[in-house]
């Protein structure tokens, strides 16, 4: 610290006051009359509002005039949703839990290209690629994910993985979100679980099919026949 010698002029100059107590408007103390202190009128007022809602809701329910609580209701009234038995519908493009789509034979569509885990800004996708076993028609052309792990806690649900996927193998159209679990490792979803999720129509496949192994458009087929 620099300790400069104080000049006599600085010493004699008037110092501004600091920390001079609380400065503000003085308010009158609240009324401490018996009616306020006993809370009785305020309780009665509150009960009035409550009973008003109670009778109005009961009337609406009896006459069938109550808004459907699940649908987005813009009409005035009380919309109480009994979650989780009743749920608001999510919008069509809601990004929910991931699922892995399947081919028609039920095998995962994923070719373990790692595009999703490359695109993932949260780095929550781990894939271990493996080659199809000997004798499989896809051996030599493609690989498949031996392990496919998504940490749903780390996921920020940005949807980049879905956009990056060239095979439409990962989608976020389950319309569901992760339910609360007891421990963190239960949020780490593995391949089988991700494959078991269906989309909202209960479908495990994708709505964007592409040429697969038996189709003539499949790139793996040696059409000329004379090669090999």
């Amino acid at each position: 610290m620099n300790q400069e010698p104080k000049s006599p002029a600085a010493e004699s100059a008037p110092q501004p006051r600091r920390g001079g107590g609380i400065i503000g408007k003085k308010l009158p103390r609240p009324d401490r009359s018996p009616s306020v202190q006993s809370y009785v009128p305020e309780i009665a007022k509150g009960m009035g509002v409550l009973l008003d809602h109670f009778f109005r809701n009961t009337r609406d329910m009896v006459f069938g005039q109550r808004n459907d609580p699940v649908l987005e209701a813009l009409e005035p009234g009380i919309n109480t949703i009994s979650y989780p038995e009743q749920k608001r519908p999510y919008p069509e493009r809601f990004r929910g839990l991931h699922r892995l789509t399947t081919r028609e034979d039920g095998s995962p569509r994923c070719v373990a290209c790692l595009c999703c885990s490359t695109a993932c800004p949260a780095q929550c996708i781990y894939i271990e690629p493996a080659e199809y076993p000997e004798g499989d028609a896809r051996r030599g052309y493609e690989r498949y994910p031996a392990r496919f792990v998504i940490d749903e806690l780390r996921c920020i649900f940005c949807g980049f993985c879905v956009e990056a996927c060239p095979c439409d193998a990962i989608r976020m159209d389950t319309g569901a979100h992760a339910v609360p679990y007891d421990s963190r490792d239960q949020f780490v979803y593995h391949k089988d679980l991700l494959l078991s999720f269906a989309n909202r129509r209960g479908d495990h496949q994708t709505r964007n099919p592409r040429a697969e192994s038996p189709d003539p458009g499949w790139p793996g087929i040696d059409r000329l026949g004379k090669h090999g």
Binding site: V111, A112, T118, P129, P219, G220, H227, G228
Partner: protein, 532 residues
């Protein structure tokens, strides 16, 4: 030096240089597929076309073409300059070449790209070349349009096994014939050839043969696209996740310069790639060397043991120091290792000779194998020359003399660096078991650590910086890629810790400390030879 002008820049060249070679030497990249600095010129990819301006006073070489005129909606006759392949035209003094500055060249590059990708399956997600593919790079740099052909592409064989190491995909192949030329010119085994013509052409193996010469993995490396993939690397990793460390191949005494590609997230090495060095390996490596990256993880010793019982490294060092302080000098010997770097060997020599006073040095290492006149050396140890250099006044003697001495009972105490022994493994083990004390500093399983009283885990070459001297006596530095496996520490550090716990002045904390200690007596071996 003669000069020519490339895009207005003066480029020097040596007589006989082609335009592309002179440009590459000057650090200017002319896009190319089929040209490779180490191979002959094929000029078949047409990607390196450049415009060469005529000499003053002479007419330009030009072609009559029909070009689309959008204003009138018809084709109009036009003249355009005849472009020439930069890989084939020799540079001449005062030549004026336009590459990036010529609109005709840019147009030609985009057209060539579109042609090369015409029948390409565009299966980048399942292609192992993705990320280091010239087709991807040049599409982005020179094309950036979709193809206009709407027809079904020509289908060709996929996943054809060319041999034990290579898989071929004809649909991805651009038939640049780099692999064909490599096999014929460098590997001296012309086993690949081009067959069929036009868009049906593909690479084929000679009938009755396989691509099984000792340089087959290099065909994958020279392939600019994903047509040839190595069975070892394919489907294992994506290249954009890998980082590269400057390394020196550990496969033999040639000491090829290499990149060790590893995934820093999983601390795993995935492959070796040659690193260009004209003095040592040119652009090439052999299969054996390229696969030697595996020993970074295979058969490793990662824990210290005393009498086969796993202990902490500190305890093993303390025990080693205790054993060494009661050493009968006349019955003791030191084993240096041709598998360890100069630094490791120097540390052991310093401890044994300068501080303990042992005079008997022997050299261990892997047994010799097959060699050839191209790259492979019969000496399968990366640092035989360096280990011999380190013990300047007492050159290490062959290992079988040590075994003989142990069998005769003349040697009972040994400090050994290294794992493998260059002789009959059974006989070596039988002899080493007779030793009263064997302090072994080892990286891999082998006869020496298997018989060790105290075993200390040393880092592999991939886990520590080190200097290696090859058969041509060129000292080369290889840099660390991975974190040490398990409890392994660099060999020199383990030796230095033994020394300093015996109160010897060996307080080396960093590699620079070792190099500083090496300088006065060892001179050149501490410093790598200058890189080209």
């Amino acid at each position: 030096m003669p000069m020519f002008k490339l895009d207005g820049k003066e480029v020097p060249f040596q007589p006989g240089d082609t335009i592309i070679r002179a440009a590459a030497r000057a650090g200017i990249d002319i896009p190319h597929y089929c040209w490779h600095p180490g191979l002959s010129v094929a000029a078949n990819c047409r990607m390196c076309l450049v415009e060469i301006l005529p000499e003053p006073g002479r007419k330009a070489l030009s072609l009559d073409v029909l070009s689309w005129d959008p204003a009138s909606g018809s084709l109009r006759p036009k003249r355009k300059p005849k472009l020439q392949p930069a890989c084939q035209i020799p540079a001449t003094d005062g030549m004026v070449v336009l590459s990036d500055q010529s609109p005709h060249v840019l147009e030609a590059r985009a057209a060539v790209q579109e042609f090369l990708l015409l029948n390409h399956p565009v299966d980048c997600p399942i292609c192992d070349q993705a990320g280091e593919c010239k087709l991807q790079d040049y599409w982005l740099a020179h094309q950036r349009t979709g193809k206009r052909m709407r027809d079904e592409i020509v289908h060709k064989p996929k996943a054809v096994s060319f041999g034990p190491t290579i898989v071929y995909d004809a649909e991805r192949c651009i038939v640049c014939t780099r692999c064909v030329r490599f096999c014929a010119e460098i590997a001296k085994d012309p086993v690949l050839e081009k067959r069929e013509r036009g868009n049906l052409s593909e690479i084929a193996v000679s009938p009755g043969r396989q691509l099984d010469h000792p340089y087959s993995l290099m065909t994958e490396h020279v392939c600019p696209v994903g047509a040839l993939t190595s069975k070892d690397f394919r489907f294992k990793a994506r290249v954009w996740f890998l980082r590269s460390a400057k390394s020196v191949c550990q496969g033999c005494a040639t000491g090829c310069n290499a990149w060790l590609d590893f995934d820093p997230r999983y601390q795993r090495a995935y492959r070796y790639r040659p690193r260009d060095n004209e003095q040592v390996n040119g652009h090439w490596m052999c299969d054996e060397g390229m696969l030697s990256y595996r020993s970074a993880h295979k058969e490793r010793i990662v824990d210290a043991t005393i009498e086969r019982k796993q202990v902490r490294v500190e305890a093993a060092i303390a025990r080693a120091a205790e054993l060494l302080s009661a050493l009968p000098l006349e019955r003791s010997a030191v084993v240096l290792s041709a598998q360890h770097s100069n630094e490791d060997n120097f540390a052991l020599v310093t401890l044994a000779k300068s501080h303990l006073g042992i005079g008997e040095f022997f050299l261990a290492g892997k047994p010799w194998g097959e060699g050839d006149a191209i790259l492979r050396n019969a000496d399968k140890n990366p640092n035989t020359a360096g280990a011999n250099d380190v013990a300047t006044t007492t050159p290490p003697r062959p290992f079988d003399q040590l075994v003989q001495a142990i069998e005769d009972g003349r040697i009972t105490h040994v400090i050994a660096l290294g794992s493998a022994v260059p002789m009959d493994d059974e006989r070596a083990r039988a002899a080493l078991k007779k030793l009263r004390v064997l302090i072994s500093i080892a990286t891999w399983d082998g006869a020496l650590p298997a018989c060790g009283t105290v075993v200390l885990p040393a880092c592999s070459w991939a886990e520590a910086d080190g200097t290696w001297v090859n058969a041509k006596r060129i000292a080369q530095r290889s840099l660390r890629a991975l974190q040490p496996a398990g409890n392994a520490r660099p060999g020199w550090e383990l030796v230095a810790r033994i020394g300093s716990s015996m109160q010897f002045p060996m307080k080396w904390a960093r590699l620079q400390d070792v190099h500083r200690a090496m300088a006065p007596e060892a001179g050149a071996i501490a410093a790598p030879s200058p890189e080209p």
